[in-house]
Amino acid sequence: MYAQMVKSEGPKDQDDPTKLAEFQARIDAGEKIEPKDWMPEGYRKTLIRQIGQHAHSEIVGQLPEGNWITRAPTLERKAILLAKVQDEAGHGLYLYCAAETLGVSRDEMTEMLLDGRMKYSSIFAYPTLTWADMGAVGWLVDGAAIMNQVPLQRTSFGPYSRAMIRVCKEESFHQRQGFDIMMKMCAGSPAQKQMAQDALNRFWYPALMMFGPSDKDSVHSSQSMAWKIKMNTNDELRQKFVDQTVPQAEYLGLTVPDDTLAWNEEKGGYDFAEPDWDEFFEVLKGNGPCSVDRIATRKKAWDDGAWVRDGLMAHAEKARAAKVAAE
């Protein structure tokens, strides 16, 4: 998902077994763990990685959509897209704050993203080539994000859970504005409908990859699920997403780019083709079509903003000193 393949760390030898058992019992009882409570080091580290990756995804995720703000077809669409992208900045900030309660600073996390020690979701390494991609991204990418974020509202770590509640309140607008773009394009000229189909063709498999590798290859899941850092398996969520999305594509009169797609009465869900996992792992390694560009853009923003951050800090310190002197 926004946090794919998060390397998890289990309990460590130095963790006191009594405390570990008490900790697990609190989680099993549905209690929230708060930043100052005792927690195993593995829980803390895994959460920093997961929340950090989620935060980075929100921030880097602004870029593919930001690409179209200046070229939106109407002023209204432009205002809507701007508001959507601004929400994503907010999501990133809520999540950075949640991660910071675990003893890492936002600036440190940013540096780790920029030098490749931390990751962001594979989906944002793909380009947005036409206006229809704004529709497909809202519909599919935010749709997939919702599927993952709704259960995470119940995650065991209090600050993460509260950030997710806030995010989920805003996410439905994102998906709907995307679907609305798709509806408009599909009701338009044949060329417009073709653009919508092309966007679905390009985003379908990358959207399926958002849920992370197949459960049989997902080595980090079980500990994270026991600690309620992860609420569902990757395959469960992917299936749910496909089952929800296929009828929506039919409504639009679009074809999901999968010849094997078929309703399976027995399981009460669709059978569908897996994405190309080799491609997924390449993208995660930083070899996606836009990977280099995304990080370069973030790095430029970070470097170019340094004088502003420093200047405002210097100004604040000076003003504080002047105030003290005047008293």
């Binding site: 929400d87 907010g90 600073s105 936002r106 600036d107 951050r309 405002l312 604040a316």
Partner: protein, 96 residues
């Protein structure tokens, strides 16, 4: 690694439309109080969630210790009589 000039952390409290108390909504970084309030406007009230913002330096907050939960809150446990439902008032008495 951590730059000592990193913007300090502020805890943000917002009072909603309907006259309830300010409620903690989250935190953010800002160089000073004025910027903290401006940033809080953008981060926490994009949908008219509030009509008043408090920004408090995070390091100015004193918090109770989670390990002292027992001694702090257990004494209230056996005082059910502090709740009105503790008392059975006959129906005949009427609303009370």
């Amino acid at each position: 690694m951590t730059d000592k000039r990193e913007w300090p952390l502020w805890e943000i409290f917002i009072r909603g439309q309907h006259g309830a108390s300010h409620r903690h909504v989250g935190s953010l970084h800002a160089p000073d109080a004025e910027m903290a309030i401006l940033n809080a406007r953008d981060v926490y009230t994009r949908r008219k969630e509030g009509v008043s913002i408090w920004a408090v330096p995070a390091n100015a907050i004193a918090a109770s210790s989670p390990s002292k939960k027992g001694p702090m809150y257990d004494p209230a446990e056996d005082k059910a009589y502090r709740h009105p439902t503790f008392f059975d008032i006959p129906k005949d008495v009427g609303p009370m």
